[in-house]
Symmetry: D3
Subunit: 130 residues, 6 copies
């Protein structure tokens, strides 16, 4: 099997930000869902995160907005994308403003929960960089 273009560019992005990701997905999920790990490379990364037409910082902030508005149940993924937004050049303030804005769309409890998730990331990043 030769790899598709989408797989190749998705894999490159995924491994650059998270070395070993395909192997660790494979070890956890492929026995029960054949092809799951390569599918993640091709679909989520190859067809979405690597698209042109939107800068990475805005793409991640839009993702943070959506996950904050959808509510606290996707907290692990929200924290991943807050970190991605920061690493793409967003300031902590911008991340916090995007989350704060979500009070109007996802409600105040969703906003506060997301803000608390962000504070944890800010502290961890600060510790790393300090």
């Amino acid at each position: 099997m030769s790899h598709s273009d989408a797989y190749i560019r998705g894999k490159a992005m995924a491994e650059a930000t998270n070395p070993g990701i395909e192997d660790s997905l494979a070890a956890r999920y492929d026995a029960i869902l054949p092809g799951f790990s390569s599918s993640m490379m091709e679909v989520a990364f190859g067809h979405y995160y690597t698209r042109d037409g939107l800068d990475d910082k805005t793409r991640y902030l839009a993702t943070v907005a959506a996950l904050a508005a959808l509510g606290g149940q996707t907290r692990p993924q929200l924290q991943v994308h807050i970190r991605n937004a920061l690493r793409s050049g967003a300031t902590q303030r911008e991340v916090a403003e995007v989350i704060n804005q979500m009070a109007l769309y996802g409600g105040f409890p969703a906003m506060i929960n997301a803000l608390n998730a962000a504070l944890e990331v800010f502290e961890a990043e600060g510790a790393e960089n300090g």
Copy 2:
């Protein structure tokens, strides 16, 4: 009653983008909810849309992301904020990319429905500008 700072800056922004908005909200809602129209100026505009720390374009794109991910039931509001994003300098492509990205978070039907809502706005704006 003197107006609060939040009311004053919210009212200024709201009337600049939508002349007569407070009066038309008042005519429709204040009889049943006393103070509703001025509350909208102070809260939604004064405490959210006029905040510093995030450029308007990103703020509107984040809002488009959230409304797309939350699903088609907020279509009128989604279209208002798509228009706001375009008028703050976002390209149609950027709006479409933000919505497309939401397939991963709000699901494919929500994404397609939001994309269809965006196409209507793009056509109307094109007609206006053409």
Copy 3:
């Protein structure tokens, strides 16, 4: 088959507020879902709406709150329960206040959409009573 207590009290309440409801549900749904209409009498009305421990007005206002917060996609049911709340003694103002409060929990678009649904009911009720 003898009827259960829950069916009997549910049926009585349902027919009192909506004469002929079981027959019209039966005509529409029982061919494809055997027993659907009597099940609605027994379950929704018999096990929920006829319970003791909460006055009808508060029960309906709580239902209006939930449907408003869940968003505009349940508009027909929201309007039914706004009407029920009014007929149980709630004022239009109380209905509107409950909906307005939902801005904090279901977001501003959900609140505005529900308020618009309420205004339609208020006008129809006014016309009936006028």
Copy 4:
């Protein structure tokens, strides 16, 4: 009080899969909500899980689909129904495929969270059966 048909068939199914369930619900909830435990037998089991027209395996897989798509906040109930699906003859692969499919409808974070919940059940069932 004589028991309704729905109570009788619901109680039989509930006790067969979960001996003592009505008593344990009663001990926990009936003081604050009179009749709650028998209501669960009659409603959830008597009016839904014991219906004809759909085999148990498909009914449980449909339930797993819905809970996965609705997101991680119903994790305990999701795990109960994954176990029910397996015990009704679904393979682990079928459960995983149903969950994987939900990426398209509930989004990728909801899918991954549900898949992780399923892996825990698979391990526990494996340990029991091993």
Copy 5:
């Protein structure tokens, strides 16, 4: 550019059930989102609907379950998948039972709205087949 395996099998399935689908998606969306139509072939069909490990009928019924539970805002997609379920061998009764079951997970208004959507499909299919 050569096509990936996922594109080839997804395209085959999509065109078999909906001839001309890629071209009509391209005409509508590719100008604003380059590559959107081929991406749908590769992702939704190639990576999800064509997977092994679950029969088509169960896959579509699970999808109907999820869309019913998520609520009426995805009505067009719900109707597409009800039709797919019927064409994969599900009976109208099985579709209705799956939807009815969702009362417990998505609430009664979502269930009734989905049942109404199903009745429309059943009538249209009946007219076609009659």
Copy 6:
């Protein structure tokens, strides 16, 4: 800067039920979101919780209804408002009835999760009052 009427009445209510709340919000959030703590006083309390036209008990029960129907992800806020409802004169039974009713709108898992959250509050309040 002089304070708005909404800030003054919101602050009074917030501090009466939760002494020191603005300072503790400020310590946690104002560095990353300038003005957040005073904004909470003015918006959530000043523009919503202190409004006329609805008694506190009904307002809190409506909020409990909405948070229960929206699902377990807002558990901390649900517990705050259950406590507020009790302190405004609602009985434990009324709180439980409102939550139970939500089975019809938010689904059975959301209802059970909210009921479990309520039982924790009832026990803690009982211990305090015992």
